[in-house]
């Protein structure tokens, strides 16, 4: 049987990277958000190719479902009233691209020099093994994360609430 995993990976990587570049370059915020959703779907596909089905489903639920809707709402709540939106790039934006490229080259060099095992070890476990790990060994961090989310909800309401006139 022919191994199609590598060509499949290139297709999935294109679904991740092309919308990511479009997201940064689109001038319309709604177009940017749409490109971001496509990029998140691509990341979910990457998770599927890595045998992490539960994470792929969580990615679609949390990023494609919840976070995208939140960002869409924020865009629509903050429409500029007068005239069209004129904020795209900083004046020094041309410096940002070489800086990001330098960051990428640095990380690539570090990764190519690092020595880690690349032999296919144990695969990512199935859903039942993963939930055993999450609710047994990592039960305390799991509960702590719920506290973080509660604090975030309270903080978001406090920040976005309209100020009362005294």
């Amino acid at each position: 049987m022919t191994d199609y995993s590598t060509p499949l990976f290139y297709i999935v990587a294109a679904v991740v990277l092309i919308p990511a570049v479009l997201m940064v370059t689109f001038r319309n915020l709604i177009y940017s958000a749409a490109a971001m959703i496509l990029c998140f779907i691509g990341v979910a596909m990457v998770f599927v190719t890595l045998n992490a089905e539960l994470l792929a489903i969580s990615q679609v639920l949390i990023y494609v479902g919840a976070i995208s809707i939140l960002i869409m709402f924020a865009i629509m709540l903050t429409r500029q009233r007068s005239g069209e939106i004129r904020l795209f790039f900083h004046r020094q934006a041309w410096l940002a691209l070489p800086a990001a490229l330098a960051l990428a080259v640095t990380m690539a060099v570090v990764l190519s020099r690092a020595s880690f095992s690349t032999t296919p070890g144990p695969r990512n476990p199935g859903t039942s093994d993963l939930s055993n790990l999450l609710f047994d060994q990592y039960a305390f961090p799991f509960e702590l994360v719920s506290l973080v989310l509660l604090v975030a909800i309270v903080g978001a309401i406090l920040l976005a609430r309209r100020e009362r006139r005294r």
């Binding site: 890595l50 992490a52 990380m107």
Partner: protein
């Protein structure tokens, strides 16, 4: 099997694109979106290492679950800051926030 290096290269590229967005764009909403891109890049690296390296399987995946939760909290707070800023200034430009400049 696709080699691990391919996934790491994808992760590096996505992280750099996210950093570019954070540095280049003025709108605070696009900055938050670019931050999410960078978190996704880190998630890809974590899941890839979890799938390829020996040791207890699934540790990296558990990590990604926690990253997802923290990312959701971060987006909620970031967008609330954006909306509060819009109420004060009627703008979304991060250059406007320069009160701490000496």
């Amino acid at each position: 099997m696709t080699p691990l290096q391919h996934y790491l290269a994808l992760s590096v590229a996505l992280f750099a694109i996210g950093a570019w967005g954070v540095m280049a764009r003025r709108s605070i909403i696009v900055v938050v979106m670019s931050l999410e891109l960078m978190l996704n890049a880190a998630n890809i690296a974590l899941v890839a290492f979890s799938n390829y390296s020996p040791g207890t399987p699934g540790r990296g995946e558990v990590f990604v679950f926690f990253v997802l939760a923290v990312a959701a909290a971060e987006v909620a707070i970031g967008l609330a800051i954006g909306i509060a800023m819009y109420r004060l200034r009627e703008r979304l430009d991060v250059d406007e926030l320069d009160e701490l400049k000496g």
